[in-house]
């Protein structure tokens, strides 16, 4: 079975072909990140305009590069939410109409399910059941994954998502937008113990997070002594990063213990963070657990994870009717197997 996957939920246009026999055949994406820099954040209308311009050429190039003919496609998967409604609609309209015209099934995929399953595109794969930490620009979730579509949300951020906290703090530090990766890069040269920052919610028994206080703590430090942005910028970045990541890891370790699970899938933009990966690997080893990650390229939004999730659902006969409505908000725990 050959599945075409299409992702347009935010500021990345991603397309991919996944084959049941050969695995991932090829994938391509176009990122709009630079387009939105001059606006200081993703502008939904501009994102949507970019998707409708880029999607069709990208799909065409994908088929050419993969040396596949459109007649070989057996099904189409597209992201139907959560995300920016206008952006989602571009992918949904194209994907659903293409499938209709080819008389093949189409399936609507939950964006976070895509992230959750991304590690299955790698050689090292987890087995069900497992725990998942989804950390991106819009989400921070700890999920118990019992099977495809059987997702129980154990914890989430009550305010800013982890990636959002990176981006907002990076902006406070003058690192531009989206500054998460730049902040992480800067942190490599810093001392994570230089500044004492709170480890929010660690005193609480639950698996929820709160990151907006951390950003405020950094703002106070800078306000009190603007000099640190010159003398100790890397230290500040490292201390902030450590505070976020210590918290993420502590809650995951706790959730692993509470559920008795030994495998942790980590996915979403922030899972590209090397400090997170190093710390997790060593700390999980100490408790006899193991982490699974997507390759760096598939940490952020991409079509490959959507094609793969689509394959799993098409394989068991699931398909969407001709309605291609999308859901800007859509809980992962509303899904079924």
């Amino acid at each position: 079975m050959l599945v075409l996957g299409i992702e347009t939920s935010c500021d990345e246009t991603g397309v991919a072909l996944y084959s049941s026999e050969k695995g991932l055949v090829d994938h391509l994406y176009y990122t709009q990140v630079r387009t939105h820099v001059e606006y200081g954040g993703v502008v939904p209308e501009i994102a949507s305009r970019d998707h409708i311009q880029k999607l069709s050429p990208l799909v065409q190039t994908l088929f050419e590069r993969a040396k596949c003919d459109i007649s070989q496609v057996d099904g189409v998967a597209y992201t139907a939410g959560p995300g920016l409604a206008g952006a989602l609609l571009v992918g949904a309209a194209f994907a659903r109409s293409f499938a209709f015209a080819r008389s093949i099934p189409a399936v609507a995929i939950h964006h976070m399910e895509g992230h959750l399953l991304a590690p299955f595109l790698e050689a090292q794969q987890p087995n069900f059941p497992f725990l998942a930490l989804l950390v991106s620009g819009g989400h921070t979730l700890i999920v118990k994954v019992s099977a495809i579509g059987d997702y129980q949300i154990l914890g989430e951020s009550l305010d800013d998502a982890a990636g959002e906290a990176f981006d907002k703090t990076a902006r406070l530090m003058g690192l531009g937008y989206p500054g998460g990766p730049a902040l992480a890069k800067l942190a490599e040269a810093g001392n994570p113990q230089a500044f004492k920052l709170p480890r929010p919610m660690l005193d609480r028994e639950d698996f929820n997070f709160s990151f907006s206080g951390l950003k405020t703590a950094v703002a106070h430090l800078i306000q009190k002594n603007p000099e640190i942005l010159i003398s100790a910028k890397a230290d500040l970045a490292a201390s902030f990063q450590a505070a976020v990541i210590d918290t993420l890891i502590a809650k995951c370790a706790r959730a692993l213990k509470a559920t008795g699970l030994k495998q942790l899938v980590v996915s979403g933009g922030v899972s590209a963070n090397q400090y997170l990966r190093q710390q997790l690997d060593s700390q999980l080893e100490a408790i006899g657990a193991k982490a699974f990650y997507p390759r760096l390229e598939f940490c952020t939004d991409n079509g490959a994870m959507i094609a793969y999730a689509g394959y799993l659902r098409l394989k068991v006969g699931q398909a969407r009717d001709l309605d291609f409505s999308v859901r800007a908000r859509w809980g992962l725990d509303e899904l079924k197997g």
Partner: protein
């Protein structure tokens, strides 16, 4: 020739099929329900005529102006259908479609001035006249404040003209002091006229492929830059 057309640029959702020298149309006033309706409409038309997408010679869609999201739905659907069978696409102006609908009803008039509400106190408008059944834009599809559009209408309609579209109801300013032969307020762009216009365009070879068929927004200043 066999030509499929669709339009989702306003509250109306419509699809039409030109087949055996006749036009068949399905149309519904259905705000925000385009994603539910458009493909089933196309399917119903094709099944009724025992055709497949692959049988079509071309696909036309309302390129705009209109609701941004609606224009992208139409372009996305048209691109997806066309890409599936490497079919040519024909983007058609929604204002020209409105003008043609009015010309069919009032063939004796010379000037047709379609206008759609562009929100933010502006209208999309154009002034068309017809040479046989082919629309000629005296004033091209434009975005303007109603008062400015009114000046343009006054200057460019030397004979009786017809105002078409809800914008005349929303912005009385648009026709204040002018004397249109009539106003057709309850008019929306429709796949029917889009098909009729596309048919002519197709004969003249005005087609694009699925990577070139894009919405015509007219309003391009949609966000403030921080720098």
């Amino acid at each position: 020739m066999i030509l499929l057309s669709l339009d989702t640029s306003t509250e109306t959702c419509s699809a039409a099929l030109w087949h055996n020298d006749q036009i068949d149309v399905i149309s519904e006033l259905a705000p925000k329900r385009h994603t539910h309706l458009i493909l089933p409409m196309i399917q119903t038309l094709l099944e009724k005529h025992q055709l497949n997408i692959a049988d079509c010679d071309a696909i036309a869609f309302g390129e705009g102006p209109g609701s941004f999201t609606g224009l992208r739905i139409a372009a996305g659907v048209a691109q997806g259908l066309a890409f599936a069978h490497t079919l040519p696409l024909i983007p058609v102006s929604t204002l020209a479609a409105l003008a043609l609908a009015a010309k069919i009803q009032q063939p004796q008039l010379d000037y047709f001035v379609p206008a759609l509400d562009a929100r933010m106190q502006e209208v999309y408008f154009a002034i068309y006249t017809f040479e046989k059944n082919r629309p000629l834009a005296i004033v091209p599809d434009s975005l303007a404040a109603p008062a400015k559009a009114r000046v343009s209408i006054a200057e460019n309609t030397p004979a009786a003209w017809l105002g078409i579209g809800q914008a005349y109801a929303v912005y009385p300013d648009l026709s204040q002091g002018l004397e249109p032969a009539a106003l057709m307020l309850d008019a929306y762009p429709n796949a029917k006229e889009i098909a009729l216009l596309a048919k002519e365009a197709f004969m003249e070879g005005h087609v694009v492929n699925s990577t070139e068929a894009l919405p015509k927004y007219l309003r391009n200043d949609v966000a403030k830059k921080i720098v």
